[in-house]
Amino acid sequence: MNLVWKLLRQHISVPQFAGFFFANLFGMLIVLLGFQFYHDVVPIFTAEDSFMKSDFMIVNKKIGTASSISGRSNTFSNTEIDEMGEQAFSDKIGKFTSTEYKVDANMSVNGVPVLDNGEISFESVPDNFVEVKQLSDWKYTPGSKVVPIILPRIYLTMYNFGFAQSHSLPKISDGLIGMIDFQVFVHGNKKQAQFKGKVIGFSSRLSSILVPQAFMDWSNNEYAPGQQTEPTRLIMSLKNPGDQNFTKYLDKKGYEIENDKLNAEKTTYFLKMMVTMVMVVGLIISVLSFYILMLSIYLLVQKNSSKLENLLLIGYSPGHVARPYQLLTISLNIAVLIMAWIILFFVRNYYMGIIETLFPDMEDGSMLSTFVVGISLLVLVSICNLIAIRNKIASIWKRKE
């Protein structure tokens, strides 16, 4: 083998192989990075909300010029709610209740004020639509000064990116909500009171702060007795989430669903498309680099063809003389893959840092599937290399025919 290698390594062009190495590295890296990035980012869009399941539908009336002019109300009356609840597709139905009194709040994180006496609003849904790990967390006893609250996730993002960075404050993740101090001031019915908001989590399906139904009922009664507005939004679950009758019913009644699941699907779709495009570019680069490699090998075989022919004539088999070139390409391929993995590891560490500040509670994910993709590519490319080299040597064997 050593003597054969000594012969066949003649005419190896280092610049050509270096060209292949970097071109292939670049292509491979783009493919793997696209794949890995997609896998790391998609869960952000498809993650289930921990407090409100995505198969809970939020229903509201369509707002349009026609309804504004006709004065048609965009609130649901009790009859409408009852009617919808009686439909065959309904599983359970509840309404969003909002406060009828004025609420101001102070929020501070780790003692640093973030919100100073700002006006906010509360809303609530029946407790059976809220999924809390420990039920006792979501309990309110009338008169108690501590109110459990769930904040819209957007608050967290705004704080982490808008506020914490500029004030050099620590970023908050779901595990650190204990750092938030939330004071609520309530005025109404010539009374006022102060409550402590106990943040138990964040939800991306909320547009205002959620409190337990018990607190809502009690406080509305206490600070705005007699005033009751009809709900503008309903929350419901379906017996069968894909029920066609439900959509038909919505159309007939002029209702629509607030579907952030759909938005997530759109985003995922575009993300998928973009990543696919990037990966295709990477694949094209890989294919071209493969082409460079094959050209270099062909050139090498061509330059060494008389040596190869002599080796065959003194009894070496085509497989035997092909082996040094096959080993050479396979080692190059393996080196490229390992290099790509190493670079990918660092690039991923970098962008995962950013993603984690944006979405602190996101799971870490793994590079396993990317490893598998890399290995599959390696195997595929190597098999093509092996076959091409074999055929090239076979053509030398047959050239005199």
């Binding site: 003597l3 054969v4 000594k6 012969l7 003649q10 040596k307 002599n310 080796l311 004539l313 003194i314 009894g315 070496y316 088999s317 085509p318 076979a394 064997w397 005199k400 025919e401």
Partner: protein, 215 residues
């Protein structure tokens, strides 16, 4: 392998003038048997090297058949030819086919590695007998053609064979060295019980040929 038989073999280059062919091998039956010594004589252009290349499966451009024992070699696959070249037929090429990048010893060793047939001592002994022991580690490219012919002979002997084809083995050698070469080749062939076929265009090894073929 006991016999090599040429049956009405006509090289494609001669196909146009079959009638002019007056040969003991082309367009007739010719049989070579293991253990015997043959001379194939010819003027240039009569197809001497072509004859050798048909036997080692390097070229297949002929009509008729070349059979090893009873196997038609036209049906041989790569694997069978490799086996022939490694274990049954040795060929001392007219154009030598040595590797100028390697030393004299490496040129022999590259074949011996494949067959594992001879010891280093035996190879060195042959170099010594042929008067080129001092060239063991010299690059082939720096050696004279006559010296290269001797290295090529040694390379052709480091394998088991039933037949050895020596294509103009002594064209560039003096009589003394030719005699030594003939002796080494015949000793090895006898030890293996092999058939020897020597080709020549005039000057030929001084041996007791049992049969002479005119091409």
């Amino acid at each position: 392998m006991e016999t090599i038989k040429f049956s009405y073999v006509i090289p494609q280059v001669f196909a146009q003038r079959v009638n002019e062919l007056d040969s003991d091998i082309w367009n007739t039956d010719a049989t070579f048997e293991k253990g015997h010594l043959y001379l194939v004589e010819a003027d240039s252009g009569k197809g001497k090297s072509t004859f050798c290349s048909y036997v080692v499966g390097y070229r297949h451009d002929y009509s008729g058949s070349v059979t090893f024992d009873n196997d038609n070699t036209k049906e041989y696959q790569v694997k069978e030819w490799v086996d022939m070249r490694q274990h049954h037929i040795s060929h001392l090429f007219q154009e030598l086919r040595l590797f100028p990048e390697l030393t004299a010893f490496e040129n022999v060793e590259i074949k011996n590695k494949l067959t594992g047939f001879k010891s280093r001592d035996q190879i060195v002994k042959w170099f010594d007998m042929l008067g080129i022991a001092d060239k063991l580690d010299a690059k082939i490219g720096r050696m004279s053609f006559g010296q290269q012919q001797r290295v090529a002979l040694i390379r052709s002997l480091v394998q088991p064979f039933d037949f050895i084809f020596a294509d103009e083995p002594i064209s560039h050698l003096d009589d003394t060295n030719s005699a030594i070469m003939a002796e080494i080749m015949m000793t090895e062939a006898k030890a293996q019980g092999a058939g020897v076929i020597v080709t020549s265009i005039g000057k030929h090894m001084d041996l007791d040929y049992e049969k002479t073929f005119k091409l």
